[in-house]
């Protein structure tokens, strides 16, 4: 049943900080976020932490728990020994604001660079028709809850601040792939994915896929197919010939 959990939580801000040691009473069936909340309500009222749904649906409470990037609301205490100390630190790839809260604006800035969907006109009855099998590929990527854990573990940016300018990261490759696979979209973003989002910098080590709490096959279903589509556009002789004789992909490059 209940026991006193030994919890270490990183406390600090941009100028630095350290791990604080706490003992927090916890109950059966609880998750790490429950322990953090109890700590906040009883011992550290100003402990900064993001959370919203507490059900793995909003992607707010990302952190590193004993070094592993996870959602605090979906990490059960029963996964650990009662004698074990649980250490919670902020995600490493983004600058700390305070305690467990980091500045994730990188992700929102990159999102602005993706041109929106632009569909073909509606059918005469005012509706659109798409087959389930055709929307399912995009639907897998739209399960993304924007927890940014994939961005956090991606080694292209994890310890390489200098790569952030040219690299949008796995979350946004999902977005490019989703739009590219949309049955009715009229934009061609392949050049953009390569040049602006830095798709070529990804060397498919699958770290992103491993941490995705939604189980999206980021590497296999989004990044690799997207890389192939980019390559097709550049090097496929048929495409090349087509572009020379005026037969182009019906989509407009953006």
């Amino acid at each position: 049943m209940g026991y006193d959990l030994r919890l270490r939580v990183w406390r600090g801000d941009r100028s630095g900080g350290q791990l604080g040691d706490y003992s927090v009473p916890v109950e059966e069936g609880e998750v790490v976020l429950d322990a953090i909340h109890r700590l906040q309500a009883t011992q550290a009222g100003d402990l900064a932490v993001r959370w919203n749904c507490k059900a793995g649906k909003c992607g707010s409470c990302s952190a590193e728990i004993n070094g592993r990037p996870r959602l605090m609301c979906m990490t059960r205490l029963s996964d650990f020994e009662e004698s074990e100390t649980i250490t919670v630190t902020p995600v490493r790839t983004f600058p700390v604001i305070r305690d467990l809260v980091t500045d994730v604006s990188f992700n929102y800035e990159k999102a602005k660079q993706v041109p929106a969907v632009k569909l073909t006109p509606r059918d005469p009855d005012g509706k659109r028709r798409m087959m389930q099998v055709d929307v399912e590929r995009g639907q897998e990527f739209r399960k993304c809850i924007e927890c940014f854990l994939c961005q956090n573990v991606c080694h292209v940016v994890r310890d390489h601040e200098e790569n952030k300018e040219a690299f949008a990261g796995p979350r946004h490759f999902l977005r490019y792939a989703e739009l590219d696979m949309h049955p009715l979209d009229t934009h061609d973003r392949r050049k953009l994915a390569q040049d602006v989002a830095g798709l070529g910098m990804c060397n498919i080590t699958k770290c992103c896929t491993e941490v995705c709490p939604e189980g999206i096959h980021i590497t296999d279903n989004a990044i690799i197919p997207m890389k192939e589509r980019v390559v097709d556009r550049k090097f496929d002789p048929v495409t090349w010939l087509g572009s020379k004789i005026g037969r182009r992909d019906p989509r407009d490059e953006v």
Binding site: G45, A48, I97, R98, D99, R128, R142
Partner: protein, 625 residues
């Protein structure tokens, strides 16, 4: 509150922020035509509409963009597109909505909602939403409680995520300014009209002033005032309270929806939503004796359209023309009360709920495809495999029907320049909301609010309301008050917990006069304690301070709920009185309107009776069938 003396050029003792105001306030300052508070479905849709109408728009939201409560909506968006049942149309949807709300709805809002919802859904598709499809390739529609036809456009059981992401991506592509993790604490007026808003950045604790003649409230609900709730920390009734303070009125606050199916175990997840789609897709409710008890709770009002035997209910899944709907798909208020009664009668499940069983009817593939996040949620958080065993579920505070009293067509409150849309607005759902009608409500009235706000500002031409400098100073002092109490102050977390206990115990699903009177006394005591709130630390990302500010909103909203609940001496929809167990026709013609004299938080709320708007005859005929 004036804990801090007022001198020019004064700086706050703890933060060093300048405390004086005027043209040079020392505060960050922005000018917009329309400021939208909240970035859920209604806020985003309002901002898009105002932007499209030519207004300069800002969205100000408490969390990161894309994390608002809409993200948690699961089942779908109700819209009579007729993709599955060609017989469906707006009149049927309108009728279902009114009957679900026990006829207390604002008829005009229910009409606009039913008429405009289909186009709003198609618009989402235009902006990139990928809904599940019918075999013909149209948007699929699923069954839900209280809806005559399968009507909910959906994406598995994560429709809210699809909706918020679509709106978010569209708003970003339009270049609308978003102030994330920025909380509005005051709305300014110039005379009677809105002049702007006051907010703090969560990250730094620094203040922002928005000069804007129109403000759209899209702040959602109040569920965090209850112990067991499906709502997140954000749901502290901010918009409800801001409206009252600004001089607007609330209606229908006694009607709080307890969703019949929340998780009950383990304690950590108690209250987390279990989508109504489980029942829509074939889930049955059973008690500890294995009986489908809902057959014992079919009210007279819905008898003619509800199956009265297990055989007929079973037949409905395969043949919907010749069988009536299973009673599990009655409106939420009916199902929540029934579950509550079964638990009280000692026929509950081991952890104090009842059983919800879909595994007996559907195979594992079907369940995982239609209800992926329910499967995931139970597996990860409760060690329950819903494809093999029943879930344990019980009622959880989910939604407030009550909200800001607005004009049905324009969503303007009684304060010029102040608009409300979505859960924070009242009237649309009457005494009980049907599942699926929330997401459509957000889209229909979000758009209307945004358009009206933009039109209002255009109509002002160059004569804009101006913010009064003293009001800015007062807003800053009020927000910082918790830092001024040094030792022995009240802990905001403790007061919140005590308030949740009072509301759960005394203003819950089943209510009675003595308990409601007691709740009002308790709320008053908490209000007194809340004048001495203190917080530790400094202003930078300090949740204790944020809660202290939110608490004043929660307290006033709770007072409204308890006061209206005590006044309404009947049972209807989301308001059930043990001492007045049935509906009363004369109460069926009355709205309870709440206001705050002089906008003073410490004053008690005023309550008055107001007759319901009368429905025209051509709509009334729909109910004679």
């Amino acid at each position: 509150m004036s804990h801090i003396s007022q001198q020019p050029d004064e700086r706050h003792p703890m933060t060093g922020n300048r405390m004086d105001s005027g043209d040079d306030t020392g505060f960050e300052r922005h000018e917009y035509d329309v400021v939208v508070i909240g970035a859920g479905g209604a806020g985003l849709r309002a901002a898009i509409a105002a932007h499209d109408a030519g207004a300069r728009v800002a969205i100000v939201c408490k969390s990161l963009l894309g994390k608002a409560h809409t993200v948690m909506a699961e089942g779908g968006i109700a819209a009579s597109m007729g993709n599955v049942y060609p017989d469906d149309n707006w009149r049927v949807h309108f009728r279902d909505t009114m009957r679900g709300g026990k006829m207390l709805n604002n008829w005009r809002m229910a009409q606009l909602h039913a008429q405009e919802a289909p186009e709003r859904v198609l618009e989402l598709e235009e902006w990139g939403a990928l809904f599940d499809r019918t075999p013909e390739g149209l948007i699929s529609q699923r069954d839900f409680g209280g809806h005559k036809y399968a009507r909910l456009a959906h994406v598995g059981d994560r429709t809210g995520l699809e909706m918020i992401r679509t709106l978010q991506q569209h708003a970003v592509s339009l270049g609308i300014d978003v102030f994330m993790e920025c909380t509005v604490t005051d709305i300014f007026k110039d005379g009677d009209a809105v002049a702007g808003a006051f907010a703090y950045w969560r990250e730094t604790g620094r203040f922002v002033v928005f000069d804007a003649p129109a403000v759209v409230l899209a702040t959602g609900g109040i569920g965090k005032s209850y112990q067991v709730t499906s709502n997140s920390w954000e749901y502290t009734g901010d918009g409800h309270a801001l409206a009252m303070k600004t001089g607007a009125s609330l209606i229908n606050m006694e009607f709080v929806q307890f969703h019949p199916t929340g998780m009950v175990w383990p304690p950590s997840v108690k209250g987390i939503l279990v989508t109504e789609s489980v029942r829509g897709d074939g889930g049955a409710l059973k008690n500890s004796e294995g009986n489908r008890f809902m057959f014992d709770y079919i009210p007279e009002y819905f008898k003619s359209e509800t199956a009265d035997s297990v055989e007929e209910a079973e037949g409905w899944y395969a043949d919907k023309k010749n069988n009536r709907r299973p009673p599990e798909l009655l409106p939420r208020d009916e199902v929540a009360r029934a579950i509550n009664s079964e638990i009280k009668a000692g026929r509950g499940s081991p952890h104090g709920g009842v059983f919800l069983d879909i595994a007996s009817r559907r195979d594992a593939d079907f369940i995982k495809r239609r209800l992926p996040s329910m499967y995931h949620q139970f597996k990860e958080l409760a060690d329950v495999d819903i494809t093999a065993e029943p879930m344990e579920v019980g009622p959880t505070c989910h939604y407030v029907m009550g909200g800001v009293e607005v004009d049905a067509d324009t969503e303007q409150s009684r304060v010029p320049g102040l608009y409300a849309a979505g859960e924070v607005a009242g009237g649309m759902h009457g005494s009980n909301r049907l599942g699926g009608n929330s997401l459509s409500d957000l889209l229909v009235f979000g758009r209307r609010a945004g358009e009206s706000a933009a039109a209002y500002v255009q109509g002002l031409k160059d004569v804009r309301p101006r913010i009064v400098a003293d009001d800015v100073r007062l807003a800053a002092r009020t927000a910082l008050a918790p830092f001024a109490i040094e030792n022995g102050g009240e802990n905001p977390y403790t007061i919140q917990k005590d308030l949740q206990d009072v509301m759960q115990r005394l203003v819950g699903i089943i209510r009675k006069a003595e308990e409601l009177e007691e709740s009002l006394e308790e709320i008053q005591k908490l209000k007194d304690r809340a004048t001495r709130l203190s917080v530790e630390g400094h202003r930078q990302y300090n949740p204790g301070w944020h809660l202290a500010i939110d608490l004043t909103n929660m307290l006033i909203v709770c007072e409204c709920i308890a006061k209206a609940a005590l006044e309404r001496k009947e049972s209807r929809g989301g308001h059930t009185r043990d001492d007045y167990p049935g509906p009363d026709d004369s109460w069926g013609q009355v709205n309870l309107v709440l206001t705050l004299a002089g906008g003073d938080y410490s004053a008690p709320v005023d309550l008055e009776h107001k007759p319901l708007p009368q429905m025209p005859d051509d709509l009334r005929e729909l109910f004679d069938q």
